[in-house]
Amino acid sequence: MPLYRFRSRRCSGMASAPAAFLDPAMLARISDLALLARTVVDGFMHGQHRSIRKGSSSDFAEHRSYQPGDDLRRIDWRVFGRTDRFYVKEYEADTNASVTFILDASGSMDFGSGPLTKFRYGQFLVASLAWLSQKQGDRVGLATFSKDLTDIVPASTRHLQLLLHTLSRAKVGGPSQLVRAVDKISHLTTRSGIIVLVTDCYDSADSVANSIGSLRMRGHDVIVFHLIDTAERDFPYSAATTFEDAETGARLPLRPEDLRGKYQKLLGDHHAALTRRLANTGADYVRVYTDQPLDRALHEYLDRRLARSRVR
């Protein structure tokens, strides 16, 4: 099975204009996430004037308990000889940062009025950010969730392919338990790093903010990408229709024409509350519409990444 596969000849022709690959409509034609991520990042980095700063160090920092996925060569065998326990030696500037991506895989993400569903868009976004992080020497990890955590890839500099593979195999569906998933992630990550949460935030702003707040309390930098479909925003329906909840399957007959204004007001209030509450927690909140190119999200990420000065 070839590692890269083009869906059409047009994709190769587009290489001369990498920025076009940031368009979601174009990205929908690429089935391989690795290719997509590399294409997006290359296209995004094309024309960037400043180089990414890389930190490095070989000073011993501390021992920590062995975690599944850790490189066996890092185990300190001397300590094992004394204590019969596995410890891993960590050094200052071994990595620039540990970036964990949390992707919402609930049923509500399986919706899209355009060429991409929110989940697909989220996959592209996570893959691109992971590729970008890898190029900077960051450790990358992944967690997907719906009503519980479903896939977990611990953060590592060598887990990019595993991350992409897991990401491409992720299934979408089921109810969303955002708060519960975030809480679990906060317990699994022992070292502070960057948490990138990609979700549609169908939960109360207070609950989301409280969960993000707990991550912040553990020293994580948090970036929340709030994915919104244009149909969610514009509510363009006119005929009397029965609406079906993508997560629970509940149905509700409505006349959208009569309710559009009230719906958009409720949605606007929700977005404003998220913006305000997450800002209070110190997290970054980025609202991304699925018909927009990925570069805005990448910019937001890089700005946040560069602003991070502290490395372990």
Binding site: S238, F243, E244
Partner: protein
């Protein structure tokens, strides 16, 4: 318009499908997936919308298309009248002209003739007309013809008669006439006063549905009428003479005011009484005349009132015999006890209406003038006579005489063969008399042990038991100790049985006469019948019934026939208009049709001297009631039949059949066009947008 395959119309139930779909399609067909109802659920929801049809034009379009398809498959077919223009077909018109007695009221008949002429004059070229006059019967006075003058001239011979009305007879005649014109548009025109009494019999009549029936009412708006409705004659027998008392009843309906009238009684052409009465607006008034001396011989008469607008019913004729006594020849066996027939004779001697005269004779005396004069022969426990007397008796019974056989211990003792057992050996004439007895005797039943038997099964509907219809207990109280065992012969009718099932009374018609076999003991030795109250009325009834005098009528109504006495060799009848009719004889006898009201006199041979018999005839009393029926009610109950059985001429041509069925193609084309319009309509505007606004494929489905 009808349908070739009406069963397909059941598919109309499929119309409920689009309605249900329109009511439920949002629930079942295309629910709009949405990421979350978190915000929508916070909005006020008008759930009443879900069960309302919100797209009525589309629903109507779909329902109409479906209905047209169903109609097309049911194959609508136009009826003959609808598919073929009436102007293209000739007409066959039957004029039914009422000539019943009521049409003689005021100027009704003149109006009827004018109406008939007007209908005939509307006949166009190629059309045909027939004229039928009717009363209780219908008479075709002009068959279907296109000769208008002939039809008009046929009306000149028509006039009202003293008979009743029967619309059913007229319709039957019209149906018969129109069979000859199957290709034409059939029309029946009633010209009548729509008298309600004439409707009887119309219900249940079969009439082809292609026949158009209409009526022209010519009845007068004023329907006031008075008539002599009834006459009762009572004989008053005095020691030296016989008087007759007459009581009449004058009835009136819907008079504008009370009317004073003179009522006159005429007997044998002589005025016999006069009364002045005041006739009420509606109701009856009795009129009694002083008794007058009964004229000798046969008597006829009438009661009349001053004529009103309908003169025919102002006179009521009647006739009665000058001597109505019944002569009974009683044949008693030689060994009869002294008082054996005492109760029988005394019982029949009671009463004078009519008087019963009994003459005891021997069996061999039953011949000659004595037998011809008698009305009844009673064989009291005696066998039928033999020889000439037996033959004469058999002939006399066959020609209308009455024979009553009272069976007792003697006949029972004769055993098998009964009355005629000995007669079988006594010459060629004997079998004829033997056959008169409608049973064989097989011994006697003795009920002394169980205190006597009773009558078990009695046919109270038989005229013999008419006096006991309201008092049947009177018969069941009678005890019979001994009685003969009888077996009814073929053709005989057992009209009463004992409680052990044996026949008690057997009746049989013999020619025009009657034979009655009574197994019940009529003496006091074998039962207590003579001591019971039922004895006297039973005997009276037995004599009158068997003698044929059980229902003497003072008059008959027109429309009936008169069977003349068989004793007349060359009957000649004078009818009310004065003419003489000599009816031919056939196997039954001579019969005269009673078409006119008045007195009919029959003579034997020459018409002179005392008539042999008289018969009074009047129009039916119902004709005096001029109450009309609504024209719409006239045909209620008539069964419409299709014309397929009328004649081969009704079979439509191929072109005509095709033209009557071609609508289905148009319906199918219209349905296809509607479905095309529905497709366009359903995918334009917001309907099409709603369809395309669907959730995209889930992730990974590629």
């Amino acid at each position: 318009m009808g349908f070739l395959f009406p069963a397909f119309l059941a598919a109309m139930a499929a119309l409920s499908v689009p309605i249900v779909l329109h009511l439920r399609h949002r629930d079942k067909d295309r629910p709009q997936r949405f990421p979350s109802l978190m915000f929508l659920e916070q909005l006020p929801i008008r759930t009443a919308q879900r069960r309302r049809v919100t797209d009525l034009p589309l629903l109507l379009l779909r329902a109409l298309a479906l209905a047209l398809i169903v109609f097309a498959f049911a194959r609508p077919v136009f009826s003959k009248e609808e598919s073929v223009k009436k102007t293209e077909r000739v007409r066959a018109v039957v004029v039914l002209l009422d000539r019943s007695m009521s049409m003689g009221y005021k100027d009704v008949w003149k109006t009827a003739l004018d109406s008939a002429r007007a209908v005939i004059n509307t006949i166009g070229t190629g059309d045909r007309v027939s004229v039928v006059v009717f009363d209780e019967e219908a008479e075709i006075i002009q068959a279907l013809t296109n000769d208008k003058a002939a039809a008009l001239s046929s009306l000149s011979s028509a006039k009202p008669v003293s008979r009743g009305t029967h619309f059913a007879a007229a319709l039957r005649a019209a149906r018969q006439v129109l069979v000859a014109a199957p290709e034409a548009t059939s029309e029946v025109v009633f010209i009548t006063d729509l008298q309600r009494s004439g409707v009887a019999g119309v219900a249940g009549l079969d009439l082809p549905s292609s026949i158009n029936v209409r009526s022209i009412s010519v009845g007068s708006k004023e329907r006031g009428n008075s008539a002599v409705a009834n006459v009762e004659v009572r004989r008053i027998v005095e020691p030296t003479r016989t008087m007759v008392g007459v009581q009449a009843r004058v009835s009136s309906r819907e008079l504008t005011a009370e009317r004073k009238a003179k009522v006159t009684l005429m007997l044998n052409g002589r005025p016999s009484g006069t009364r002045d009465v005041t006739i009420p607006v509606s109701g009856d008034v009795p009129v009694s005349f002083e008794p007058v001396l009964l004229p000798s011989g046969r008597v006829s008469g009438y009661v009349s009132i001053d004529n009103d607008a309908l003169a025919v019913d102002d006179t009521l004729h009647f006739a009665l015999a000058g001597d109505d006594g019944v002569d009974v020849l009683l044949v008693i066996p030689g060994d009869a006890l002294r008082d054996e027939t005492l109760y029988f004779e005394r019982a029949l001697a009671v009463g004078q209406a009519p008087s019963i005269r009994i003459e005891e004779v021997r069996g061999d005396q039953l011949e000659g003038p004595k037998l011809q004069k008698a009305a009844l022969v009673v064989l009291w426990d005696s066998p039928t006579p033999t020889g000439r007397a037996g033959a004469a008796l058999a002939d006399w019974v066959t020609r209308g005489g009455g024979l009553a056989v009272v069976a007792g211990r003697r006949l029972a003792a004769r055993g098998n063969g009964g009355v005629g057992a000995r007669s079988n050996d006594s010459g060629s004439a004997a079998p004829a008399a033997t056959r008169l007895v409608p049973a064989k005797f097989v011994g006697a039943a003795d009920r002394l042990a169980d205190r006597g038997g009773t009558l078990g099964d009695v046919r109270l509907d038989h005229p013999l038991f008419a006096p006991f219809r309201d008092a049947s207990a009177a018969l069941s109280a009678v005890r019979f100790l001994r009685y003969p065992r009888m077996e009814a012969t073929a053709g005989a009718e057992v009209i009463a049985r004992f409680d052990d099932g044996l026949p008690a009374v057997i009746d049989r018609r013999e020619g025009t006469g009657k034979v009655l076999l009574v197994g019940m003991p009529l003496d006091a030795a074998s039962g207590d019948f003579p001591l019971q109250p039922a004895f006297l009325p039973f005997l009276k009834r037995m004599v009158l019934y068997t003698a044929g005098r059980d229902a003497p009528r003072l008059w008959r109504t027109t429309g009936q026939s008169w069977l003349l006495p068989a004793s007349l060799k060359e009957p000649a009848v004078t009818i009310p208009d004065g003419s003489i009719v000599r009816p031919p004889r056939d196997t039954v006898g001579s019969t005269v049709a009673l078409n006119a009201a008045g007195v009919y006199s029959v003579y034997d041979g020459k018409v002179q001297g005392e008539p042999k018999d008289l018969l009074a005839v009047n129009a039916p009393a119902t004709e005096s009631d001029l109450t009309p029926v609504d024209a719409k009610e006239l045909l209620i109950g008539v069964r419409q039949t299709n014309d397929s059985t009328a004649s081969a001429g009704d079979v439509p041509t191929r072109v005509e059949t095709e033209s009557r069925q071609r609508l289905w193609r148009l319906l199918l084309i219209a349905a296809v066009l509607l479905l095309f319009a529905e497709t366009v309509f359903a995918n334009r505007g917001w309907r099409g947008t709603a369809t395309r606004m669907k959730a995209v494929l889930p992730a990974g489905s590629e």
